[in-house]
Amino acid sequence: MANVANIPVWRDIGAAPHPAASLQQAPLVIVGAGPVGLAMALDLGRRGHPVVLLAQLDFVAAGSKAICFAKRSLDIFDRLGVGDAMVEKGVVWNVGKVFWGNREEPVFQFDMLPVKNQKRPGFINIQQYHVEDRLIDALGALPNVDLRWGHRLGGVETHADGVRVTVETAEGSYRIDAEWLIACDGSRSAVRDALGLDFEGRVFEDNFLIADVKMKGDRPSERWFWFDPPFNPGQSALMHKQPDDVWRLDFQLGWNIDREAAVKPENVDPLVRAMLGDDVEYEPEWYSVYTFQCRRMARFVHGRVVFAGDSAHLVSPFGARGCNGGLADVDNLGWKLDLILKGEAGAVLLESYDTEAIAIADENILNSSRSTDFMTPKTAASSAYRDAVLELANELPFARPFVNSGRLSTAVALPASPLNTPDADDWRGAGIAPGFPALDAPLGTGWLLESLGAGFTLIADGWADGATAAAADGFALIEPGTGDDVLRARYAIEPGTACLVRPDHYVCARWRHPDADAVRAAIARAKGKEL
């Protein structure tokens, strides 16, 4: 697989050799070495499963795609052992500002980490290739993950209990019989095509120019967004800091443009100049034009083929929900497939991946579509409302929450999940209800989320039988100490209280005064017994 598509190279790796046997066996094949496929391989690899990961390219692609990684993704990266590596490289930020017209002061400002006292910040910015690099490094330490660079999935045949895939390399093709195939092969998914499946939903028409430029200077690491700025009248613009002195400048261009001309330096530079001012020195890093869609597949699970990331759903970049949403898929799927492969849960558990991952995708699509509608009004009335909101936001506090320049990605709640055990006790609105993501809090000298293991965890206070039940039923136990007041407050913990957390850090059951049977039943339910 030479670089036929002329994709810019970030890091050359070189093709993996063609295997000796032309028909191979593997429990798990993952297609696509983007952030989602790599994270998926890392999750299942760390759980001890042999994984074959197919990457059609034999290099890490450069070019700018995702930069904003949400706290939830950082928590997932922590669980996968790469959180520190990401945060050390990334630019930490929490504050976003929205500007309008030529007003100097923002009309609106928000904080992405309103609840303080958590290990990770609201967001980091880090180029997608840096994320991929760190995931690849972590995979290198796992002998059970076979990452095959330059091996392209060509075809898929599905059976009741497995999948036969055809893989193409520069030295010819071979086949693999797999029990499970996870498609992480991006928006133009070859797996989706091979199964004759498609996306549904809305397509938006607008063009946005990305200009990643290198410049020095001490602008704050905040998200700056403009409606109708003097340097791009009638359109929007965004400015955001990345590692290595790279800045993402994003200009809305409108439609009916010449996309090829739009990325020519002689056309981009005047825009960049107008935004940054005449005295700023910069070097172009990457110019491209993108349009986007907000769509998803009707189902993500098709027998033994499971879709995750962009292959399953697409959103507009406003809100940074694409890659963050894909990582949420990984988080949801990893422990379920692990239990299935170990024979601790039936394949039916994947039905809950279908419903939960679709619920997450739908919330992302909803938010993304609304941001897009706000930013690119389609009717005279929607323009009038948009301008009225901005005008009022500048004058009156009530209008500020109406401003939508991209509601940024946060963990999605799953209150309707069939894996939850509904509350039997009265919590009077306090604590974290089943289906909601676990909230971090200080725990001893560390943090709650980093103390949760790879399996189920019970946060229990003063439950005498806790240790016995944990040993018998194979869950971990966390008992808050005397100083852990923030944790107690966040989980509404009183003496006797227990709260059950899933392997992907969602609360799935809680009790004022549990007994071992109730905990056992809740774990069985979360493993899909009632599906």
Partner: protein
């Protein structure tokens, strides 16, 4: 239950109507749209109950052929 009030609920309606029209005097259609939007937003926030607002939007949209979203 306090739903949307559709019985007469405010005094001096002629006066209010006159002010509404006067607000739009000499405005272009575009300006008028924005004025109306401003007023709507201010009132919606004052009402403060999303269910009542949704009811009002549905009622207003009944004049249109398609269903409101």
């Amino acid at each position: 239950m306090t739903g949307l009030i559709t019985e007469p609920n405010i005094a001096g309606v002629d006066d209010i109507y006159e002010r509404l029209i006067a607000m739009h005097a000499d405005a272009s259609t575009e300006e008028s749209l924005k004025l109306a939007a401003r007023l709507n937003l201010i009132l919606i926030n004052h009402i403060g109950d999303p269910a009542v607002v949704a009811e009002a939007i549905t009622l207003a949209a009944q004049r249109r052929k398609g269903k409101p979203r």
